[in-house]
């Protein structure tokens, strides 16, 4: 029983650890980045929660970026365009060979001007239009390294660094970073951006300027996280996880309750004897309830260990091959909440069997049942 319920709890805790980890990485990156304002198109969702969610497009981006850079207090303003480029390999092109697309962030401006905005693992950030920096995920999956050449949309790029921009958690590890101006010169992209990251000592001043443009708005990282957490997509995803967790816990409770019920039924003579010799029904009730709580406690300990094991396995066998830092993280608050829920559910699971134990007729014992 402990193994079965523990496995269910372990699954719940591992799942919650993975959800927590994703959010921690996003928040962690925002916390560490020096950018304290993000300018996006109105209605855009900068942290896409589901496929198909639009990060939006800022039109006339060059003019907006130039305007922002002139605002007093702005230390750095970097535009980023989320785009996809086609890779061409050397040699003969095979018929029916699928087109290889590379997700790309075209970066407009000196990204290194914003404190901690750039995270380099190898090499350096690009300085010229024919240089590219790869996220470690995409570099690993494409077996590309420093000094290699990468042909994108008919233009050759030299890989000068493995790293990322600190923006939205794991996404940054799985894109290529190129100079937006170079792409514009080649007519690959127009005068558009997805967002502008700004580091400024006068955020209100930037907000005031941005508010003059009807199509864009400026938000702090806290506002973005808050909006994300309150968004329908996020709430929906969380509700789905909670429904799944609640279902698993419900099945676990029903299982424990059913097993305790069977145990009580098998021990009718024992409970009848206890009633016959005068033990108060409260004592019997508490002893069965304690049994339920103990089972849930042991299951929790088993589940805790299992969730850590599962989480580490996910980190080792899934996250690392995909070049994510981690997909699972221990969240003390989540573990405490599930502990409290487990103990409460232990009492719920034991309640009906415990009541049944107190209602055993002691006369059955004397009748030699």
């Amino acid at each position: 029983m402990v193994v079965g319920v523990g496995a269910a709890l372990g699954l719940v805790m591992a799942l919650m650890g993975m959800i927590g980890s994703g959010m921690q990485q996003i928040i962690g990156d925002f916390d560490q980045s020096g950018a304290n304002l993000y300018i996006t198109a109105n209605g855009a969702q900068i942290i896409p929660m589901q496929h198909g969610t639009s990060p939006g497009t800022i039109d006339q981006a060059g003019a907006i970026l130039s305007k922002v850079r002139t605002i007093p207090g702005v230390r750095g303003a970097v535009g980023v365009l989320s785009w996809t480029l086609q890779r061409q390999r050397e040699g003969k092109a095979w018929r029916n060979f699928p087109t290889e697309m590379i997700p790309t962030f075209a970066v407009d401006g000196e990204a290194t001007e914003i404190e901690n905005f750039v995270v380099m693992r190898k090499g350096r950030w690009f300085q010229r239009g024919n240089e590219v920096v790869l996220g470690q995920g995409i570099a690993g999956s494409k077996s590309l390294g420093l000094g290699d050449s990468l042909r994108l949309n008919g233009q050759d790029f030299e890989i000068v660094g493995i790293g990322k921009l600190r923006t939205f958690g794991p996404t940054g590890d799985n894109v290529a970073y190129v100079d937006a101006r170079a792409l514009r010169q080649h007519g690959v992209v127009g005068d558009v951006l997805t967002y502008v990251a700004v580091q400024t000592s006068a955020p209100q001043l930037v907000r005031n300027v941005v508010s003059d443009f009807l199509s864009i708005r400026a938000r702090s990282p806290e506002e973005i996280i808050d909006e994300t957490v309150k968004s329908q997509d996020y709430q929906g995803a969380m509700a789905l996880y909670w429904v799944l967790d609640a279902f698993i816990l419900f099945v676990a409770v029903m299982f424990v309750s059913n097993m305790l019920g069977r145990s009580v039924a098998e021990r009718r003579v024992e409970f009848g004897t206890l009633r016959a010799i005068g033990l108060p029904s409260r004592t019997i009730l508490l002893s069965v309830a304690a049994e339920g709580v103990l089972i849930m406690l042991a299951s929790y300990v088993f589940g805790f260990v299992l969730s850590i094991g599962l989480g580490e396995a996910v980190n080792a066998w899934i996250a690392r091959p995909l070049h994510y830092d981690r997909l699972f993280a221990v969240d003390a608050t989540m573990y405490a909440a599930i502990f409290a829920a487990t103990m409460g559910l232990g009492i719920v699971a034991a309640y009906f069997p415990a009541r049944a134990a107190t209602h055993v007729d002691p006369l059955e014992v004397l009748r030699g049942v």
Binding site: E270, A276, I277, P280
Partner: protein, 223 residues
């Protein structure tokens, strides 16, 4: 100590009423050693269950130490059973997952005695029934006679005024039976009140009051 006044007990079996006890009047005084005998189905166990506050009469009254107890609620009756009445069952009914010592200590714990005192008393009771060396044995490791002696020790746990035994030798071999009879005699000699339901003449021979029960009616045989 215990008095039954015009006590009757009716069971409904199918469409018909079965009277297990009819107008039973009985007084059990402190220090009595009473045996209740009679053929199977005569109402012996029903009488013991009513005396032991496990069952309620259909009519009549049961008093214990001068207080009418047949209408008390279940918890107060359980409390009286715990503190004032000790039960010995034919099939011992020891808890299989507890040692002899723990079985004896169980009612003492329920009475609220602290752990040290509880186990000291349980050990003393096991000594009284000659099972000191079996204190940490589980019931499955004991013979039938030894299990019944543990059950007697458990019945004595809270030093009850009244000990009730339902066929206590029914499952025992003759040697064990003799040991249990000697134990009851010794308990009686130490001033305890004992009521035993039995078919066994040897047990009956040890008592000084004999009640015959037939078709739910009591008849006390002369000493």
């Amino acid at each position: 100590m215990m008095a039954l006044e015009q006590v009757s007990r009716k069971y409904v079996v199918g469409d018909s009423d079965v009277w297990a006890l009819r107008d039973a009047t009985l007084r059990i005084e402190k220090g009595d050693f009473v045996t209740v005998m009679g053929p199977s189905g005569s109402g012996k166990s029903t009488l013991l269950q009513i005396i032991g506050l496990l069952d309620r009469p259909t009519s009549g009254h049961v008093s214990f130490e001068g207080e009418v107890v047949d209408q008390l609620d279940d918890e107060r009756r359980a409390r009286l059973r715990l503190l004032a009445i000790g039960f010995v069952f034919q099939r011992f009914h020891l808890l299989a997952n507890m040692t002899a010592l723990e079985n004896v200590a169980l009612p003492i714990e329920a009475a609220g005695v602290p752990a040290d005192a509880r186990y000291d008393r349980a050990a003393a009771l096991l000594d009284e029934v000659g099972l000191t060396d079996r204190a940490y044995f589980f019931p499955s490791q004991l013979s039938g006679g030894q299990r019944q002696r543990v059950a007697v020790a458990r019945a004595l746990a809270n030093d009850p005024q009244l000990i009730l035994a339902d066929e206590p030798t029914g499952e025992l071999h003759s040697e064990d039976k003799a040991t249990i009879v000697r134990l009851f005699v010794r308990l009686h000699e130490s001033g305890r009140t004992i009521v035993v339901v039995t078919h066994d003449r040897e047990v009956a021979g040890a008592a000084h009051r004999h009640i015959e029960i037939r078709d739910g009616r009591l008849r006390e045989e002369p000493p």
